[in-house]
Structures are given as C-alpha cells and as structure tokens.
Symmetry: D2
Subunit: 365 residues, 4 copies
Amino acid sequence: MSHNTFGHLFRVTTWGESHGPALGCVVDGCPPGLRFKLEDLQVWLDKRKPGQSRFVTQRREDDLVKVLSGVMMDEDGETMISTGTPISMLIENTDQRSKDYGEIARRYRPGHADYTYDVKYGIRDYRGGGRSSARETAARVAAGGIARLVVPGVTIRGALVQIGKHKINRANWDWTKVDQNPFFAPDPEIVPVWEEYLDGIRKAGSSIGAVVEVVAEGVPAGLGAPIYGKLDQDIASLLMSINAVKGVEIGEGFASAELTGEENADEMRMGNDGKRIFLSNHAGGILGGISTGEPVIARFAIKPTSSILTERQSIDADGHNVDVRTKGRHDPCVGIRAVPIGEAMVACAVADHYLRDRGQTGQQR
Amino acid sequence: MSHNTFGHLFRVTTWGESHGPALGCVVDGCPPGLRFKLEDLQVWLDKRKPGQSRFVTQRREDDLVKVLSGVMMDEDGETMISTGTPISMLIENTDQRSKDYGEIARRYRPGHADYTYDVKYGIRDYRGGGRSSARETAARVAAGGIARLVVPGVTIRGALVQIGKHKINRANWDWTKVDQNPFFAPDPEIVPVWEEYLDGIRKAGSSIGAVVEVVAEGVPAGLGAPIYGKLDQDIASLLMSINAVKGVEIGEGFASAELTGEENADEMRMGNDGKRIFLSNHAGGILGGISTGEPVIARFAIKPTSSILTERQSIDADGHNVDVRTKGRHDPCVGIRAVPIGEAMVACAVADHYLRDRGQTGQQR
Amino acid sequence: MSHNTFGHLFRVTTWGESHGPALGCVVDGCPPGLRFKLEDLQVWLDKRKPGQSRFVTQRREDDLVKVLSGVMMDEDGETMISTGTPISMLIENTDQRSKDYGEIARRYRPGHADYTYDVKYGIRDYRGGGRSSARETAARVAAGGIARLVVPGVTIRGALVQIGKHKINRANWDWTKVDQNPFFAPDPEIVPVWEEYLDGIRKAGSSIGAVVEVVAEGVPAGLGAPIYGKLDQDIASLLMSINAVKGVEIGEGFASAELTGEENADEMRMGNDGKRIFLSNHAGGILGGISTGEPVIARFAIKPTSSILTERQSIDADGHNVDVRTKGRHDPCVGIRAVPIGEAMVACAVADHYLRDRGQTGQQR
Amino acid sequence: MSHNTFGHLFRVTTWGESHGPALGCVVDGCPPGLRFKLEDLQVWLDKRKPGQSRFVTQRREDDLVKVLSGVMMDEDGETMISTGTPISMLIENTDQRSKDYGEIARRYRPGHADYTYDVKYGIRDYRGGGRSSARETAARVAAGGIARLVVPGVTIRGALVQIGKHKINRANWDWTKVDQNPFFAPDPEIVPVWEEYLDGIRKAGSSIGAVVEVVAEGVPAGLGAPIYGKLDQDIASLLMSINAVKGVEIGEGFASAELTGEENADEMRMGNDGKRIFLSNHAGGILGGISTGEPVIARFAIKPTSSILTERQSIDADGHNVDVRTKGRHDPCVGIRAVPIGEAMVACAVADHYLRDRGQTGQQR
C-alpha cells in the first residue's frame, strides 16, 4: 500500500478519498524558478471537473486548487515562483451527499474494487470507492499542471478517439475542435453519433468503455533509457495507474502486430535545413525507450463504469448471495473525463525524464 | 540511464550487452530457504534460447546460467538453498561473430535505437544493439526463474496468440500443445498457417509483429494496491520494458472499450463449498489494482523485427542520406521468443507484490 | 531536490515552510486497522512545540495537527481507524510575524543554509529558512506518532544527555524525570546546572550545541538487513536528516574506537526461562544491521543555533562584505526540542523495517 | 533484505559472499564518455587488499577486478570508455581455505551477526560471515573507483586518525605520508606508537577500534538538498552501511555539542579575486545539507574486530550455553582497511548528488 508516490526526480505523492474533507498531492522535485498563476493550474482541473455536461457524473465539485507550499509570491501578488521545495496542493471535497450506505457497505459491487479491498485490507471505506474513486485523479491533474511547466516548449494534448464501437475518423482530426464538444472529440463528425449513442446508454442506466489518445509535441530527443527506464514504459505505467484503464499502447501499439518490418520502419532523411527528418512515426516518438523528437503518442482503453442500474449477481462480506444495483450519480462513460487525466500522466512522465537527463539545479535555467 | 533495476522488494538488476564477455543479473530480495537446482532455472533459458527452429535467429548461444552468490549448496551437492542475500547470475556470450561493423557503425538503422542512443549518450556500442539487444532478456528470464519459486502454488504460462493478421482460435486453447510447436501456439490448428506464413516472411528477409498472452494462475487474492502500486500497472510496466513491445493490456484490454457495464461486470456467487466464485474474468484477475484470486491475464504486442533485408532510407551520424539493409541472423518474428520473457516479467511482478504483502522474513516460512 | 520522502514501505513525505499557510506530511504505507485518537498524535507535537519555557524559541504556534485522509471514524466519533491509504496531516502556521526582511534577504547568515540555497536554487525564500526551518520537524513528529503505532509493544523515548560541556551522570538516569524539566533531562541533578548555564547563553544572545539519546525498547529481533538496509544505517540517515545534526552514533558509537574486542563483545547466555540473554548491550541493540531484541540506542549531536546576536562577518548575494547579526526569536539550544524529533525518526525507521519484515497486508493483524 | 542497492542516480548494487566463487557489483547510472584503464580501478582495490602488513588479516586475495559490461574498448586496447549502460565488475575469491566449520556453524560468536542472521533468515551461511564479511567491501571499492571519475576535479582521500586511545596530532597532518605507512596515518609521529600498540593487540589475539577521516576536495558548491536528500545524510548513511561502523560525524561532529554559535559560525568574506571565502570550515563543507565548496569532511568510528582468541560466553542455535573462541586470520584493527572503503562511500555519495544536480545526459559533457 505504500505506493502513492510516482516519478524518480519529478515525484508526485497523492492522498485523499472522495468522502474525506479534502484530497491533494505533493509535487517534489519541481525545479526552482518556474513562474505560474493559480489559473494556470485551475484550467486543467476545470477540464476534468464533473457536472459539465449530461454525459458525465452530476456530482458538483468546484475543484478549486490551493497551493500551500513550495512557492514565493512575486510582487504582482498573483504570480507564484517555484522555490525547488515541495509544492503541496489541496482540493476540498464539497459535495459529499449524506446518504445511507448501509445497504452497499457490505455488498461487493461487481467490477468495483470492493471485494479486493476487503481481502487486502480487512477494512474498507465504503463511501465512494476510497482511493479507487475517480476523485483521486483531481490531484494528478493538478500535478500535471506543474509538470507541463518543467519542459520548455512541450505541448501535451489528449482526445477521445473511441466510445463503444464508434471510432473517430482520423482524417478529420482537428485539435481546435477538441474543446468545442462535451467529449473532447477531435472529429466534429463523430459528435452527434456519440451524443445519440451515449444518451441511450445514460437513459438505460448503463455504461460504456472508451479509448483516449494523448500526444506530446516538443519532447526533446534523448529522453528515456534503453530498457527499464524506457520513456514508453513509464508512460504505460502511469496511464495504467489510472483507475479503470485496461490497456495502453504507444505509436502503432497493438496494430504493430500486423505490420511487416518494411511497413513499420520509420525512414529518415536529412532535411534541406540540415535537420534530421523522420518520414513517418509508427514508433510513436520513442525508439529503444528514448524519445526521437517526433510527437510522443500514447493511447489507453478505459473499461465501462462499473456502477450501473441493472442488477448484477454478487455476494456480500458475510458470504451471502445478493443482487447489486448501484444507484447514485455516475459517469455513463468515464473515458470522457479521462482525457485530462491521461494528459497529466504523460506530462509527469516527460517532466521526470527531462530532469533525469538535464538535472535539477537552478543554475542551468 | 540509472534504471536497470526493477521491483520494490523483489528487485532485479540486469547488466550486459550482446557483444561483451557475459551478461547477467542480480536478484535482490529473494526470501531465504527456497530450494532449487540449476536445471530449474536453465529450463526457462532453454525456452528462450536462439537457434531452436528456422523461425528464430540462427545465432547459437548455449545460454548456460551460473549462480555466483546468494545460495548454499545442500548436502546432495545439487540443490541450492537461498540464503536471503543477493543472487548473482551470469550467462556467457559465446557466439560473437567477428565481422566488419564499419559500414553500419555510423548508420542509423530505421526502427532501431541507433539514432536515439547517439542523441542521448553521444556514444554507442554499434555491435549488436547494446542494452536494447534481445540478448539482455536472457538475464530477465533467469530472474524470472527465481521469481516463480517465491509464491507457493503459482503457475505462470505464456502463449503466442497472433502473428500478423493470423490469430489463434481461442476455442482450441490447449496448454499442453504450447511446447509442442516452434511458436508456443496453444492452438494446434494455427501451427501450419503460421509455418507457411512465416516461411514466406523469412525467405523475403522481412519480419512481422505478434501478440503474446501470459496467464498467472494461483495468484492469491489481495496482491497489489489501489492506484500507483497496482498489480496491473507493475505488470504493464515490466512488459513494456521488453524491447520491441508497443502495447500491453489486462483482461479484456482494448476490447473493454466496446463493452457495456453489464457485459463487463464479473458477477459473483458463493459456491457450494463456501468459496467465493467469479462467474467470469473480464477483469483479468485484477480489480482496483488488487488480485481477485482469478487467473491474472496479460497480453502484449511486439512490433516486427527492425532488422530486414529490404533497403530502407536513413541517415548516418554525419548527416548524410544513406540506404540501410540489415544483414545478419535475425528473428523473422521476435514475438516467438518473447513468450518466456513475458512469463518472466509477470513472475517478477507477482513475486514483488507477494513480498510486499507478506514480508520478507525467513521466520514465516 | 526531489527528496522529501523517506522510508521504503513506511513512507513519509513532508512539505511546507515556516512562512507559508501550513506545513504537513503524507504517511504512506501505514497498515490498515490501527486505531488512534487525535490526541495520540497531538501529545508528541505538544512536546516539540515552541514557547514552552524560556530555554526555547518564543515563537507561539499551537501546532494543532489535522488528519485529512486515510482513516475512517469509529462510531465513538473520536477514534480513527487507519484504512491502509495515505494519511495526510496538516499543521497550520499561525505566528508568522510580518516584519521587514529587506535587510537579511540578501545577506548570508553564517552557519545557515542561505549561501548554499542561493548557489543551488538561484532563488531563496528568505522568510525563515525555507525547508531548513525547524518548523518542518513538526510534520516529522506527526508522522512519528503514526509510526509508533505500527510495531506492537514498542516504546521509543528520548532524552537530552549533554549541553555544551555539561553531561548528565548516567548513574542518575531516570526516565520518569524526563518530562518533569524543561530540558528532557533524565538526570535531575543536571537540571539546575543546565538552567544556570543556558540562562547565561540566552542572555548573551548566544547559543550552544547538545547531544540527544533515543532508546527504542521492544523492537523485535530480526529487523534490518546485513549491509545496505542496516537498521542502524537507516536510523543514522534519518537522524542526520534533522537540520543542525552533525553526528550520529549507535550503541558505544565513537567510544567503541577505544574498546578492545573483549570489552566490546556482548556475551550471551540462556536464561532460566529458556530465553536468550545478552549480558551487555555495547552494540546498541543491532548486530550486522539486524536488531537483537535488546534496546536500540542512538545518539546524535546538534550544533549550536546559527542565529546569534553577536555580529559575524559575512557577504551578501551581491558580493559585498557585510556583518550579520540575527535578531528574532530563536532557540538558545535547539537540541532541547530535538528530543521528540529524534524519537520520531527512530520510530519511523523501526516501523519501516517492521513492515519490510512482516509485510503490509491487513490479513495478518 | 532487498536492499543491496544504494544511490539514486549513481546506483550501485553489490553481491557476493566471502566463500562463494566471486563477488562483485553493478554500477548503474555512470555517465557515458568516461575514460579509464583497469589499473585506475585496481589501485583502490590494492589499497584495501588483505595481507599487506602484519597489522591486517593474512588472508591472501589478489582482488583483481574484471569489467564485464558497460564499456567500449578504445583503439589502444587498454582504455575503456563508459557507454552509459550498467558497468558490471567481478572479483574472484581465490583463498577459501577449506576447513572444518562444524564447531562454529551453530555457535553465535559474540559481536558477530550470527545470532541476528539466524533470527532473521532462519538460515545462515556460516562460512565467513556472509554479506557481513569485510570481503563485500571490495565490490564497494571498485564502485568507488568509477564514482571518482564522475565529478571533474574532485579528490577524495582518507586517513586513520585514531586507534584505541591513541589519536594523531592534527598539527602534523601530511597527506603525502598516508601511503608511506601500514596504517594510512597522516601523522608520521603516531606510526611507531601504533606499531607498538597494535603488535601487543595482535599477539594477544585481541582487537581494537579506530576512527577514519575522509576529506573530499573540489566538490562543487550546490550539491545536496535541504533535508531528506542532504549530502551529509547520504554520506552518513553510506558510511554507516560499512560493517563494524558505529558512528559517523560531519565537520565538527560531536564536538559541535560543546561549541557556541559564535565559535561554530563559519564566517565569510569576499576574496581579492572576487571569490567567496569561508574563513573556517566547522561545517565540514556542508550547510543545510548542501555543499559549500569547502572540503567535505566526514569521520566514522569502527568497533574492534569481533573475532578474538579469548573465549567469550555465548549460546548456540540449539539453546545451549557455549564458550566461543574465534580462530582464523583476522584483522587486529579493521579500521585500517576501512580507509579506502570510506573513501569509496564518500565518492559514491558525491557522484550521486552531482548527477542529480547536473543530469545524466551525454550531451552536456
């Protein structure tokens, strides 16, 4: 259980449950001298925030992030400057509906971690999933906001590329559309399809899985290491650490199983400007665990929300057969809100490898 | 670069390149009192060994493992007993053909880590891929041999489930067939299909990707942790650390994107014997990062071998355009030999979480 | 800088400066099922709290600890039960006197970390020493309060054994006296000596060093590891991590340099009750890095407070010679308040090794 | 037990016992492009080697180090160039006298780790102390040889400053004398005193403790971190990891307990050349955990060798009272050979912090 810290030089520790007073994280290893305003962090939390459309949970949380340490305020009273010491951030839980948990407190909801928690810990906070609650991810997103500042010139963006069997048309990909629909869809044509489909899912009290793609542009070549500290390995590890994620791939991913060596090779040429050019990016920006300078591309699959209205067979902690139906406010497709979370995880992995490569001193900036 | 160690309590450090005198690993954290013979480790190395069929590299290596520390010899002069101190294992490189590397020493082979190595390190051992060589995996397989002994009653087996577009028929799955064909195929009917297909690939000097599935049975419920120390996260991280792996999934994996909550829920019932029964295993044996007691199921995709006979466009270290054609003895499908490697990685992850959960003392055994 | 976490399975991350809104820590790896009340933690913070006698800093802080996560409240509304998830604790800074730091903001106070901070970070929070402030230790003491609960039956107590040249008479050692004087002195006869001596130091605006001894009784035999995970090594590391500590010793410590093998050997005999008896404890309860079951004994030396009223020669950030005199509320002997801090560090080290040995599952409790 | 790795970016894993075929280490994180010959490492092993005078153990070991990985050979066939991959080094055990251990196999030698090993592991390699054997330190010294190359311009030297009650006269300190006597004494006048004293100890089959001092010059200012990653903390941890070490101090160390703030302050002035000058170095080159640029000074106390000819009371594994007398070839004062070991540990700590600060890329060199 002592594993709520990730990263080697850019280290993030998160804490908190959905039903305590607050949750948060400590970002340790942030280089000194980074300048940012609270709104530079809040923008990412707002993107992840519940209650923004009918396609996500109706729980209402302001998700306002506070910075408790690790910064000095500049003279404008607004700009914070990192000092190189741990940045502690806190987000209060405001919408903890008091309700009767009596019924589900001892029942194991299928697909949830209820049963495994009880086996492992012998005690379980039944109010909202404990650490496995999606609320924990708010802390990661705050940490990702800091991580984005660490590597100069990097841009990290995510999009939803699949809901159920409905995939986007990659030929329509347009980053400017992503924030103009409730799905973070890069393909405007898929939006009405998803709307109709998800409305059906939602009204049926059902849920559906999804696939998210994250692209990091501007990652300098040379980050990562050949095998156990592979950049793709660390990205995979962090994406897989998000609750409900069941698969991760880099570049061509599972599709590379169907490619020949000729098809998969990213050929190179010298450009007229003397720069090295990759003619394709099947590798997803990483070769031998080390970044090539091309966009780093990662995808991950999110299973359908386990909380559904349909009764499912289960057992309770006392060993009785029961049927479980999960009432409450849930995301019909948790994949939607996973977009900013995936971005944050990739940002943290890239920041970590950047510092391993370049060091942490304030002198070199 | 300082990241050739993995695991938190069961810790493995590997070292060595394909063209040095030897390679090996140090297994730190092995509990005391485990009993094994050299052949119990060698059997796994033999499974990974090159040159065993026409479908894998013709490089000849005996891959004999030596144990240099961490054990006492029992009175039979054969059985080793772990003492709880680091187990150092060494495998000599015997088949290092001397050849003229002059030509490729400064050329970047597409799909290889040549370019990224040069960017990162400014120096590169061009003789065989350095740490990214598949030979490094022999050390992992040796470590996996120890890991298998740590958790009483666990069985970890892998199989090849896809080559190119040709997938096995899961209805034919038969573990007893896996070691009876050169592909580790669990479906006897796919064998002639793959033989014909791979012969074509091989004769064309081409290569093809593949998918491997690893199943761990007998993993006790309760191993892992909710988020950052998820058992699936650590398995994903280690599988992704294998060279050429581009995707990892657990249970339904990417297919879960297309499932509804009703379809994906693993229902439970009490068995007549008072045991808890899962009626399905879409989760792949892990819920909320913690093992359920059901088989742990992981799959990973391996890209096609980058070394192919067809010329590909590239550049060299001096910034000239060149065309590269990789002669030598290569695997037409590296996915085949990845089967025992994947098994080893899953074994190490399970052993590590077992020790985190149960502790490392000799007293409790 | 990314090193504000310590411990391997019982992991503590601290954050916060003396002049921000709050400071705190996250305790990760606490086993589930521990029961405690807030007052069980507060008692240790009160012991460390400033302003309790004229011999410590007159800064006034309530140092009230809040628990934000990782526990469930029992039905009595008072008893917290750990759930195995991270325990986040927060202590507000209440007494941040606003004053003009203009003068010292750019001057390097001798003995302080001002100069080295500027060299390292290129930026420095001059308001109170940043992370090197003694206030950071409040978070450690809170973490130590949790750590004390982890190992059943362990008692960890500290005492001040030397101020300046004035050492206690060990023949007078009486644990019951420690909390009955403002110095945590175990020897009542030294109290008037220290009072008179420290009054002189205090009135002169000077400061003086000290030595603290911590004794952990009830540590089970078998915790630790032979070399790099030695229990004494981890204790030494954590004690040396306390600001102003310049030396650490275990058992006989530096005195062992003057002992012969005959004198230093802790002989053993079987007791009448069949128990193993050590006839002496020169080793300080640790042999070969592993606990013997005898009391674990550690001592550490604290340098005199660097903040003194006498002018000292120094330079400023602009490279000018200046003379520095540190006004403000300071401890004439920081060693006094270091007693509960040292206890907390030993408690954390013992808890960590206990979990490594016994595991973290909730099942075994 | 899984703790045979130290360092965060410059990571060393050691393995091996005194009575196996070999021992060694893996140095992970060494930057690429370092150039050295085997003799550059061997020189340090020779310094630690047994059998060089009558004052150390008469065991005969060549201690020839082999480099198995992580380097390319330069064209001269002699100079190795680090490639940034793990450097595996191996030292064969050549002098393993076969003898009858039957008698001591089950007896607990006082002062040794025999009893604690049995408690912890339930199994013990009685042939020579297992990992607690002084032979393990050969691997550290090899690692230290690499570490010395990492930080440009650094010089790390050690000396013996006390044997029993006989301390050197610091006024006589002369580094050029250290290698001209069998004690690594920097004070020529103490040599005859120690010779006579140690001859007595040796002939009596007794042993005696000692104190070693290590000085690192040329450590750039700015290495380390304020609290948990203090440079002095990491040095203390590594020195305390050496078997038989019972105390560690930095700068004034325990003597600082007797100093006032005025005496202990290291005043500063600007030099005529515009450089910052410290007028003293009570701090031992470290303030607030961060190097000042002044020499880093550490001392450690080594207890007397536990193996002595005089019978001591003890028990055996079966719970019988026994008397133990340790025959064999032992160091009358293990402190002597601890000098190069201490140097190696300081070198590793400094290299690690240098890389944390400056990064590990090959680009910046």
